[in-house]
Point group: C2
Chain length 173, copies 2
């Protein structure tokens, strides 16, 4: 499995631009994930290159985290569904704040798509959903971070109109 790139579980490089060359771009349904999707979502997280060592295994901690997300109206674990199968996922978070004159922002984490469907527009459709959902919730800025090793992911984001203006720092407690 692969990824379109993000901070949380640093993803594998996403699909290069294939709009022109790739006629077979299946249309997916992007929706809020449900508890029945959890195993498939964790599978996508675990099969990412960087996520392999730190995701997977016992579902219990994921189920607990999923319950925390569901209880938070600012969080959506989105999934892309194709023929009844979860083929992609991303974490979508609305963050209200004061800076930039009270800008509401949307933050994306943990973007993953099924490796067998790479380069076929699943990531683009997840992001199209994210932009639309962000606007509907009053956000005027979308942000994410991506592991610095992910050159392909970075080109994917730039193609979507993102600007690589910041350095992302993390500290484990």
């Amino acid at each position: 499995m692969s990824a379109a790139g993000s901070a949380s579980g640093p993803p594998e490089p996403p699909e290069p631009s294939t709009h022109a060359e790739q006629p077979d771009r299946p249309e997916v349904t992007v929706r809020a994930g449900r508890i029945e999707d959890l195993e498939a979502i964790v599978g996508l997280l675990a099969h990412d290159g960087l996520g392999r060592g730190r995701d997977g295994g016992d579902l219990a901690p994921y189920a607990a985290a999923f319950a925390r997300m569901v209880a938070d109206r600012n969080q959506i674990q989105a999934v892309a569904e194709l023929g009844g199968q979860v083929v992609g996922t991303m974490q979508f978070t609305i963050i209200h704040g004061l800076s930039r004159r009270g800008t509401t922002r949307a933050q994306i984490e943990g973007v993953r798509t099924l490796s067998t469907l790479r380069g076929r527009g699943i990531g683009e459709q997840l992001f199209a959903w994210a932009f639309e959902t962000a606007r509907a919730k009053g956000a005027t800025l979308v942000q994410l971070t991506s592991d610095t090793s992910r050159g392909n992911a970075h080109r994917f984001y730039e193609r979507l109109g993102f600007v690589a203006s910041h350095t992302g720092f993390k500290k484990e407690l």
Copy 2:
């Protein structure tokens, strides 16, 4: 006014390491900001180098955004208070998520300290509060982004134990 560096209103370079050379490090009180603090907080945001063009002016949009933050139990607009004056601020957000086995993370945005108090440990005290609060809320990861032009801010974060592992992308909607 200056800043300890973060994504939201990219801040001015924060204080260099001055623990040894600077005996005068006032002890501040870090607490959740209140509506009465709003004007001072906006003043800190507006007087930052990068925030100057995009923050300040009419308080109404800030008051509306502050109300949205207060309604969200995962958000704290922290302030550092010294002698009854707000001398620093940061936005603190708890983000639950699935990746990294259901890790809860704390995210910091818009760190600012009063320019006349730069290099005197206000930023360090804000972050000490953030780490403590993050742990108390079950977070095991703290993250932030900082404008790539902020070399001093980046050294400040590295001193605090942050690792610059990611590239931060933003897109305006």
